[in-house]
Subunit: 204 residues, 2 copies
DNA sequence: GCCCCTCATTGATAAATATCAATAAAATTT
DNA sequence: AAATTTTATTGATATTTATCAATGAGGGGC
Protein backbone atom coordinates (compact mmCIF):
# COMPACT_ATOMS: atom_id res chain seq x y z
CA UNK A 1 0.00 0.00 0.00
CA UNK A 2 2.88 2.38 0.74
CA UNK A 3 5.58 0.69 -1.30
CA UNK A 4 5.51 3.25 -4.10
CA UNK A 5 5.55 6.28 -1.87
CA UNK A 6 8.27 4.76 0.25
CA UNK A 7 10.44 4.32 -2.82
CA UNK A 8 9.68 7.91 -3.73
CA UNK A 9 10.78 9.23 -0.33
CA UNK A 10 13.88 7.06 -0.36
CA UNK A 11 14.83 8.43 -3.74
CA UNK A 12 14.55 11.96 -2.40
CA UNK A 13 16.44 11.26 0.80
CA UNK A 14 18.47 8.06 0.61
CA UNK A 15 19.38 8.40 4.27
CA UNK A 16 15.82 8.13 5.54
CA UNK A 17 15.78 5.81 8.56
CA UNK A 18 13.16 3.16 9.15
CA UNK A 19 12.05 4.82 12.34
CA UNK A 20 11.39 8.13 10.68
CA UNK A 21 9.59 6.43 7.87
CA UNK A 22 7.34 4.59 10.29
CA UNK A 23 6.41 7.79 12.06
CA UNK A 24 5.55 9.35 8.76
CA UNK A 25 3.63 6.39 7.49
CA UNK A 26 1.31 6.50 10.48
CA UNK A 27 0.00 9.82 9.29
CA UNK A 28 -0.83 8.78 5.75
CA UNK A 29 -4.42 8.20 4.76
CA UNK A 30 -5.60 6.42 1.65
CA UNK A 31 -8.21 8.03 -0.54
CA UNK A 32 -10.04 6.52 -3.48
CA UNK A 33 -11.12 9.01 -6.12
CA UNK A 34 -13.46 7.98 -8.92
CA UNK A 35 -13.05 9.30 -12.42
CA UNK A 36 -14.73 12.66 -12.65
CA UNK A 37 -14.65 13.40 -8.93
CA UNK A 38 -13.02 16.51 -7.54
CA UNK A 39 -10.05 16.35 -5.22
CA UNK A 40 -9.88 20.13 -4.77
CA UNK A 41 -12.70 22.54 -5.47
CA UNK A 42 -12.16 26.18 -6.28
CA UNK A 43 -12.98 28.31 -3.25
CA UNK A 44 -12.00 25.67 -0.75
CA UNK A 45 -8.68 25.43 1.00
CA UNK A 46 -6.52 22.54 -0.15
CA UNK A 47 -5.49 20.86 3.07
CA UNK A 48 -3.36 17.97 1.87
CA UNK A 49 -0.74 16.84 -0.56
CA UNK A 50 -1.59 13.63 -2.39
CA UNK A 51 0.80 11.05 -3.69
CA UNK A 52 -0.74 9.19 -6.59
CA UNK A 53 -0.48 5.42 -6.26
CA UNK A 54 -2.64 4.85 -9.28
CA UNK A 55 -4.53 7.01 -11.71
CA UNK A 56 -4.37 10.44 -13.28
CA UNK A 57 -5.56 13.84 -12.16
CA UNK A 58 -5.83 17.23 -13.75
CA UNK A 59 -5.42 20.76 -12.43
CA UNK A 60 -7.74 23.24 -14.06
CA UNK A 61 -9.37 26.63 -13.73
CA UNK A 62 -12.89 27.70 -14.54
CA UNK A 63 -12.85 30.85 -16.65
CA UNK A 64 -16.09 32.15 -18.16
CA UNK A 65 -17.62 28.76 -17.65
CA UNK A 66 -14.81 27.10 -19.56
CA UNK A 67 -12.26 24.73 -18.15
CA UNK A 68 -8.62 25.60 -18.65
CA UNK A 69 -6.25 22.79 -17.78
CA UNK A 70 -2.95 23.80 -16.28
CA UNK A 71 -1.40 20.46 -15.41
CA UNK A 72 -1.66 16.70 -15.35
CA UNK A 73 -0.19 14.40 -12.73
CA UNK A 74 -0.07 10.60 -12.77
CA UNK A 75 1.27 7.71 -10.71
CA UNK A 76 4.26 8.15 -8.44
CA UNK A 77 4.08 11.91 -8.31
CA UNK A 78 2.73 14.32 -5.75
CA UNK A 79 -0.16 16.55 -6.58
CA UNK A 80 -1.73 19.40 -4.66
CA UNK A 81 -3.24 22.80 -5.19
CA UNK A 82 0.05 23.78 -3.74
CA UNK A 83 -0.39 27.51 -3.48
CA UNK A 84 -3.58 27.05 -1.50
CA UNK A 85 -1.93 24.36 0.58
CA UNK A 86 1.05 26.52 1.45
CA UNK A 87 -0.86 29.69 2.16
CA UNK A 88 -4.00 28.04 3.61
CA UNK A 89 -5.96 30.39 1.41
CA UNK A 90 -8.92 29.30 -0.74
CA UNK A 91 -7.86 27.66 -3.95
CA UNK A 92 -8.64 29.42 -7.21
CA UNK A 93 -8.16 26.21 -9.15
CA UNK A 94 -9.63 22.74 -9.15
CA UNK A 95 -8.28 19.23 -9.31
CA UNK A 96 -10.29 16.36 -10.71
CA UNK A 97 -9.66 12.73 -11.54
CA UNK A 98 -9.33 11.79 -15.19
CA UNK A 99 -9.04 8.15 -14.17
CA UNK A 100 -9.96 6.25 -11.03
CA UNK A 101 -7.27 7.09 -8.50
CA UNK A 102 -5.73 5.79 -5.34
CA UNK A 103 -4.10 8.55 -3.35
CA UNK A 104 -1.87 8.64 -0.30
CA UNK A 105 -2.73 11.84 1.52
CA UNK A 106 -0.74 13.81 4.04
CA UNK A 107 -2.51 16.70 5.69
CA UNK A 108 -1.08 20.14 6.25
CA UNK A 109 -1.14 19.72 10.00
CA UNK A 110 0.54 16.34 9.85
CA UNK A 111 3.18 17.72 7.53
CA UNK A 112 3.94 20.56 9.95
CA UNK A 113 4.04 18.05 12.77
CA UNK A 114 6.60 16.01 10.88
CA UNK A 115 8.71 19.11 10.33
CA UNK A 116 8.65 19.64 14.08
CA UNK A 117 9.37 16.05 14.91
CA UNK A 118 12.49 15.72 12.84
CA UNK A 119 14.09 18.34 10.64
CA UNK A 120 14.98 15.63 8.15
CA UNK A 121 11.43 16.01 6.89
CA UNK A 122 12.19 19.57 5.95
CA UNK A 123 14.29 18.02 3.24
CA UNK A 124 11.22 16.42 1.74
CA UNK A 125 9.28 19.63 1.89
CA UNK A 126 12.14 21.40 0.22
CA UNK A 127 12.69 18.79 -2.47
CA UNK A 128 9.02 18.56 -3.30
CA UNK A 129 8.83 22.34 -3.59
CA UNK A 130 11.94 22.29 -5.77
CA UNK A 131 10.55 19.60 -8.04
CA UNK A 132 7.27 21.44 -8.39
CA UNK A 133 9.13 24.65 -9.08
CA UNK A 134 11.11 23.11 -11.91
CA UNK A 135 7.96 21.65 -13.43
CA UNK A 136 5.95 24.83 -13.35
CA UNK A 137 8.88 26.97 -14.34
CA UNK A 138 9.52 25.04 -17.51
CA UNK A 139 5.83 25.31 -18.27
CA UNK A 140 6.03 29.10 -18.06
CA UNK A 141 9.11 29.13 -20.23
CA UNK A 142 7.37 27.01 -22.82
CA UNK A 143 4.41 29.35 -22.90
CA UNK A 144 6.55 32.42 -23.38
CA UNK A 145 9.25 31.15 -25.71
CA UNK A 146 7.60 28.53 -27.91
CA UNK A 147 4.94 28.51 -30.57
CA UNK A 148 1.88 26.35 -29.96
CA UNK A 149 3.30 23.74 -32.35
CA UNK A 150 6.51 23.59 -30.40
CA UNK A 151 4.65 23.37 -27.14
CA UNK A 152 2.69 20.42 -28.43
CA UNK A 153 5.88 18.74 -29.59
CA UNK A 154 7.34 19.39 -26.20
CA UNK A 155 4.42 17.67 -24.52
CA UNK A 156 4.89 14.68 -26.81
CA UNK A 157 8.56 14.47 -25.97
CA UNK A 158 8.53 15.28 -22.28
CA UNK A 159 5.16 13.95 -21.14
CA UNK A 160 4.06 11.28 -23.60
CA UNK A 161 1.66 9.86 -21.03
CA UNK A 162 -0.40 13.01 -21.39
CA UNK A 163 -0.89 12.40 -25.10
CA UNK A 164 -1.94 8.85 -24.43
CA UNK A 165 -4.25 9.41 -21.52
CA UNK A 166 -5.66 12.93 -21.73
CA UNK A 167 -8.35 14.10 -24.18
CA UNK A 168 -7.01 16.41 -26.81
CA UNK A 169 -9.24 19.32 -25.91
CA UNK A 170 -7.68 19.38 -22.46
CA UNK A 171 -4.21 19.34 -23.93
CA UNK A 172 -5.24 22.25 -26.14
CA UNK A 173 -5.97 24.51 -23.19
CA UNK A 174 -2.83 23.27 -21.47
CA UNK A 175 -0.72 24.60 -24.33
CA UNK A 176 -2.82 27.73 -24.60
CA UNK A 177 -4.93 27.23 -27.72
CA UNK A 178 -8.42 26.05 -28.64
CA UNK A 179 -9.22 22.41 -29.41
CA UNK A 180 -10.12 23.32 -32.98
CA UNK A 181 -6.81 24.99 -33.50
CA UNK A 182 -4.85 22.07 -32.13
CA UNK A 183 -6.75 19.78 -34.43
CA UNK A 184 -5.76 21.90 -37.40
CA UNK A 185 -2.14 22.16 -36.32
CA UNK A 186 -1.93 18.39 -36.22
CA UNK A 187 -3.55 18.14 -39.63
CA UNK A 188 -1.10 20.57 -41.16
CA UNK A 189 1.48 17.88 -40.70
CA UNK A 190 4.08 20.07 -39.13
CA UNK A 191 3.40 17.91 -36.13
CA UNK A 192 4.12 14.29 -36.63
CA UNK A 193 1.39 12.37 -34.88
CA UNK A 194 2.25 10.65 -31.69
CA UNK A 195 3.33 7.07 -32.23
CA UNK A 196 3.05 4.77 -29.28
CA UNK A 197 6.39 3.13 -28.69
CA UNK A 198 6.61 -0.48 -29.65
CA UNK A 199 9.24 -2.21 -27.64
CA UNK A 200 10.55 -5.31 -29.28
CA UNK A 201 11.66 -8.04 -26.99
CA UNK A 202 15.40 -7.97 -26.86
CA UNK A 203 16.87 -11.32 -27.74
CA UNK A 204 20.29 -12.60 -28.41
CA UNK B 1 25.61 45.39 4.72
CA UNK B 2 23.58 42.36 5.77
CA UNK B 3 20.78 44.09 7.59
CA UNK B 4 18.23 43.59 4.83
CA UNK B 5 18.99 39.96 4.26
CA UNK B 6 19.02 39.31 7.97
CA UNK B 7 15.54 40.76 8.25
CA UNK B 8 14.51 38.57 5.36
CA UNK B 9 15.80 35.41 6.99
CA UNK B 10 14.25 36.34 10.30
CA UNK B 11 10.91 36.86 8.63
CA UNK B 12 11.13 33.37 7.15
CA UNK B 13 12.26 31.71 10.35
CA UNK B 14 11.58 33.83 13.41
CA UNK B 15 13.42 31.32 15.58
CA UNK B 16 16.76 31.79 13.88
CA UNK B 17 19.49 32.03 16.51
CA UNK B 18 22.34 34.50 16.43
CA UNK B 19 24.88 31.74 16.28
CA UNK B 20 23.32 30.15 13.22
CA UNK B 21 23.01 33.51 11.58
CA UNK B 22 26.67 34.25 12.16
CA UNK B 23 27.70 30.96 10.60
CA UNK B 24 25.59 31.73 7.60
CA UNK B 25 26.76 35.28 7.28
CA UNK B 26 30.37 34.18 7.02
CA UNK B 27 29.57 32.51 3.75
CA UNK B 28 27.93 35.47 2.08
CA UNK B 29 29.80 37.41 -0.56
CA UNK B 30 28.89 40.82 -1.88
CA UNK B 31 28.71 41.40 -5.61
CA UNK B 32 28.28 44.66 -7.45
CA UNK B 33 26.55 44.39 -10.79
CA UNK B 34 26.44 47.33 -13.16
CA UNK B 35 23.41 48.07 -15.25
CA UNK B 36 23.55 45.93 -18.37
CA UNK B 37 25.88 43.31 -16.95
CA UNK B 38 24.97 39.65 -16.86
CA UNK B 39 24.60 37.75 -13.62
CA UNK B 40 23.87 34.45 -15.34
CA UNK B 41 24.65 33.62 -18.92
CA UNK B 42 22.81 31.01 -20.92
CA UNK B 43 24.93 27.87 -21.25
CA UNK B 44 26.68 28.37 -17.92
CA UNK B 45 25.71 26.76 -14.67
CA UNK B 46 24.18 29.13 -12.15
CA UNK B 47 26.16 28.46 -8.98
CA UNK B 48 24.61 30.87 -6.52
CA UNK B 49 21.45 32.42 -5.24
CA UNK B 50 21.56 36.19 -4.94
CA UNK B 51 19.71 38.36 -2.50
CA UNK B 52 19.18 41.81 -3.93
CA UNK B 53 20.20 44.58 -1.55
CA UNK B 54 19.69 47.23 -4.17
CA UNK B 55 18.75 47.30 -7.80
CA UNK B 56 16.67 45.37 -10.28
CA UNK B 57 17.40 42.36 -12.42
CA UNK B 58 15.62 40.58 -15.21
CA UNK B 59 15.39 36.94 -16.22
CA UNK B 60 15.18 36.42 -19.95
CA UNK B 61 15.65 33.96 -22.77
CA UNK B 62 17.20 34.43 -26.16
CA UNK B 63 14.93 33.04 -28.86
CA UNK B 64 15.74 33.64 -32.53
CA UNK B 65 18.01 36.48 -31.50
CA UNK B 66 15.19 38.13 -29.55
CA UNK B 67 15.04 38.61 -25.82
CA UNK B 68 11.99 37.25 -24.03
CA UNK B 69 11.72 38.42 -20.44
CA UNK B 70 10.26 35.93 -18.00
CA UNK B 71 10.66 37.74 -14.71
CA UNK B 72 11.83 40.79 -12.80
CA UNK B 73 13.24 40.83 -9.29
CA UNK B 74 14.08 43.85 -7.15
CA UNK B 75 15.35 44.70 -3.68
CA UNK B 76 14.79 42.35 -0.77
CA UNK B 77 14.06 39.32 -2.88
CA UNK B 78 16.13 36.36 -3.91
CA UNK B 79 16.96 35.77 -7.53
CA UNK B 80 18.61 32.86 -9.25
CA UNK B 81 18.41 30.82 -12.40
CA UNK B 82 16.95 28.39 -9.97
CA UNK B 83 16.49 25.38 -12.19
CA UNK B 84 20.13 25.51 -13.22
CA UNK B 85 21.15 26.11 -9.62
CA UNK B 86 19.19 23.14 -8.32
CA UNK B 87 20.17 20.71 -11.05
CA UNK B 88 23.71 22.07 -11.62
CA UNK B 89 22.91 21.88 -15.31
CA UNK B 90 23.69 24.67 -17.78
CA UNK B 91 21.14 27.44 -17.67
CA UNK B 92 18.98 28.00 -20.70
CA UNK B 93 18.12 31.50 -19.54
CA UNK B 94 19.99 34.67 -18.67
CA UNK B 95 19.84 37.21 -15.89
CA UNK B 96 20.96 40.78 -16.38
CA UNK B 97 20.87 43.98 -14.37
CA UNK B 98 18.34 46.62 -15.36
CA UNK B 99 19.80 48.91 -12.69
CA UNK B 100 23.06 48.96 -10.80
CA UNK B 101 22.80 46.22 -8.22
CA UNK B 102 24.29 45.14 -4.95
CA UNK B 103 23.87 41.43 -4.38
CA UNK B 104 24.46 39.13 -1.43
CA UNK B 105 25.51 35.81 -2.90
CA UNK B 106 25.41 32.36 -1.41
CA UNK B 107 27.03 29.60 -3.43
CA UNK B 108 25.58 26.18 -4.05
CA UNK B 109 28.32 24.50 -2.09
CA UNK B 110 27.96 26.85 0.84
CA UNK B 111 24.23 26.32 0.82
CA UNK B 112 24.68 22.54 0.94
CA UNK B 113 27.19 22.99 3.70
CA UNK B 114 24.69 24.98 5.71
CA UNK B 115 22.10 22.25 5.22
CA UNK B 116 24.62 19.82 6.66
CA UNK B 117 25.61 22.05 9.51
CA UNK B 118 22.16 22.62 10.87
CA UNK B 119 18.89 21.32 9.52
CA UNK B 120 17.25 24.60 10.43
CA UNK B 121 18.66 25.89 7.18
CA UNK B 122 16.61 23.35 5.32
CA UNK B 123 13.69 25.52 6.32
CA UNK B 124 15.13 28.42 4.35
CA UNK B 125 15.73 26.26 1.35
CA UNK B 126 12.18 25.03 1.57
CA UNK B 127 10.62 28.43 2.09
CA UNK B 128 12.56 29.99 -0.72
CA UNK B 129 11.53 27.18 -3.04
CA UNK B 130 7.94 27.61 -1.90
CA UNK B 131 7.98 31.35 -2.48
CA UNK B 132 9.48 30.92 -5.91
CA UNK B 133 6.93 28.26 -6.70
CA UNK B 134 4.03 30.52 -5.83
CA UNK B 135 5.47 33.34 -7.92
CA UNK B 136 6.05 31.27 -11.01
CA UNK B 137 2.85 29.35 -10.61
CA UNK B 138 0.71 32.46 -10.65
CA UNK B 139 2.61 33.59 -13.73
CA UNK B 140 1.65 30.38 -15.53
CA UNK B 141 -1.94 30.75 -14.45
CA UNK B 142 -2.03 34.29 -15.75
CA UNK B 143 -0.68 33.22 -19.11
CA UNK B 144 -3.23 30.47 -19.52
CA UNK B 145 -6.35 32.06 -18.07
CA UNK B 146 -6.10 35.77 -18.86
CA UNK B 147 -6.14 37.89 -21.96
CA UNK B 148 -3.10 40.10 -22.62
CA UNK B 149 -5.06 43.12 -21.35
CA UNK B 150 -5.86 41.35 -18.13
CA UNK B 151 -2.28 40.23 -17.73
CA UNK B 152 -1.11 43.79 -18.08
CA UNK B 153 -3.65 44.96 -15.52
CA UNK B 154 -2.47 42.20 -13.25
CA UNK B 155 1.12 43.42 -13.52
CA UNK B 156 -0.04 46.92 -12.67
CA UNK B 157 -1.88 45.71 -9.61
CA UNK B 158 0.48 43.06 -8.32
CA UNK B 159 3.89 44.37 -9.36
CA UNK B 160 3.61 48.13 -9.84
CA UNK B 161 7.37 48.50 -9.49
CA UNK B 162 7.71 46.69 -12.80
CA UNK B 163 5.63 49.31 -14.58
CA UNK B 164 7.71 52.06 -13.04
CA UNK B 165 11.15 50.63 -13.55
CA UNK B 166 11.05 48.29 -16.53
CA UNK B 167 10.89 49.39 -20.20
CA UNK B 168 7.58 48.62 -21.78
CA UNK B 169 8.98 46.39 -24.48
CA UNK B 170 10.30 44.07 -21.79
CA UNK B 171 6.95 44.00 -20.07
CA UNK B 172 5.39 43.13 -23.41
CA UNK B 173 7.36 39.92 -23.76
CA UNK B 174 6.73 39.18 -20.09
CA UNK B 175 2.99 39.11 -20.73
CA UNK B 176 3.44 37.29 -24.00
CA UNK B 177 2.85 39.93 -26.68
CA UNK B 178 4.88 42.27 -28.87
CA UNK B 179 5.79 45.82 -27.82
CA UNK B 180 3.71 47.26 -30.65
CA UNK B 181 0.69 45.34 -29.53
CA UNK B 182 1.02 46.43 -25.93
CA UNK B 183 1.28 50.01 -27.09
CA UNK B 184 -1.97 49.63 -28.99
CA UNK B 185 -3.73 47.90 -26.13
CA UNK B 186 -2.91 50.82 -23.88
CA UNK B 187 -4.10 53.29 -26.49
CA UNK B 188 -7.43 51.50 -26.87
CA UNK B 189 -8.17 52.76 -23.41
CA UNK B 190 -9.42 49.49 -22.04
CA UNK B 191 -6.33 49.80 -19.92
CA UNK B 192 -6.22 52.79 -17.69
CA UNK B 193 -2.67 54.04 -17.72
CA UNK B 194 -0.62 53.49 -14.65
CA UNK B 195 -0.81 56.39 -12.25
CA UNK B 196 2.02 56.77 -9.80
CA UNK B 197 0.61 57.06 -6.32
CA UNK B 198 0.67 60.52 -4.82
CA UNK B 199 0.72 60.38 -1.09
CA UNK B 200 -0.52 63.52 0.57
CA UNK B 201 1.03 64.32 3.87
CA UNK B 202 -1.41 63.42 6.54
CA UNK B 203 -2.09 66.33 8.92
CA UNK B 204 -4.51 66.98 11.64
C1' DG C 1 21.97 73.84 -26.50
C1' DC C 2 22.42 69.75 -29.48
C1' DC C 3 23.27 64.99 -30.50
C1' DC C 4 22.73 60.27 -29.70
C1' DC C 5 20.49 56.54 -28.19
C1' DT C 6 16.82 54.14 -26.39
C1' DC C 7 12.19 53.51 -26.23
C1' DA C 8 7.34 54.16 -27.62
C1' DT C 9 3.98 55.01 -31.05
C1' DT C 10 1.62 54.68 -35.42
C1' DG C 11 0.25 52.82 -39.99
C1' DA C 12 -0.36 49.24 -43.37
C1' DT C 13 -0.55 44.57 -44.01
C1' DA C 14 -0.05 39.61 -43.12
C1' DA C 15 -0.39 35.72 -40.26
C1' DA C 16 -2.15 33.30 -36.43
C1' DT C 17 -5.79 32.07 -33.71
C1' DA C 18 -10.63 32.13 -32.05
C1' DT C 19 -15.47 31.52 -32.72
C1' DC C 20 -19.59 29.32 -34.14
C1' DA C 21 -21.94 25.70 -36.23
C1' DA C 22 -22.10 21.36 -38.22
C1' DT C 23 -20.61 16.78 -38.76
C1' DA C 24 -17.84 12.72 -37.97
C1' DA C 25 -15.52 9.60 -35.27
C1' DA C 26 -14.57 7.23 -31.10
C1' DA C 27 -15.57 5.54 -26.73
C1' DT C 28 -18.97 3.99 -23.24
C1' DT C 29 -23.17 2.35 -21.76
C1' DT C 30 -27.22 -0.23 -22.27
C1' DA D 1 -25.10 -4.38 -31.57
C1' DA D 2 -27.47 -0.24 -30.84
C1' DA D 3 -27.78 3.85 -28.48
C1' DT D 4 -25.80 7.51 -26.11
C1' DT D 5 -22.25 10.38 -24.80
C1' DT D 6 -17.94 12.27 -25.38
C1' DT D 7 -14.37 13.85 -28.23
C1' DA D 8 -12.33 15.28 -32.68
C1' DT D 9 -12.57 17.29 -37.14
C1' DT D 10 -13.93 20.48 -40.69
C1' DG D 11 -15.67 24.79 -42.87
C1' DA D 12 -16.67 29.66 -42.95
C1' DT D 13 -15.72 33.78 -40.89
C1' DA D 14 -14.26 37.18 -37.38
C1' DT D 15 -10.93 38.71 -34.25
C1' DT D 16 -6.59 39.03 -32.38
C1' DT D 17 -1.93 39.50 -32.76
C1' DA D 18 2.51 39.83 -35.32
C1' DT D 19 5.47 41.91 -38.65
C1' DC D 20 7.82 45.48 -40.98
C1' DA D 21 8.84 50.12 -41.63
C1' DA D 22 8.64 54.69 -40.35
C1' DT D 23 8.16 58.43 -37.19
C1' DG D 24 8.15 60.65 -32.77
C1' DA D 25 9.35 61.54 -28.02
C1' DG D 26 12.35 61.67 -24.14
C1' DG D 27 16.71 61.51 -21.41
C1' DG D 28 21.70 61.75 -20.62
C1' DG D 29 26.15 63.14 -22.00
C1' DC D 30 28.99 66.58 -24.16
Amino acid sequence: MFTQIKAYYKSLVPGLQEEGWNKLQERFTIQQLKKGELLVRNGEICRQVSFINKGLVRLFYLVDGKEISTGFVAENEYVSEYESFLTTQPSSGNIDALEDCELVNLSYNDMQAMYQLNPVFEIFGRKIAEILFIMISSQTTRLLTMTPEERYQSVIQNHPFIIQRVPQYMIASFIGITPEHLSRLKKRGYLRPFEPQTYKTHRR
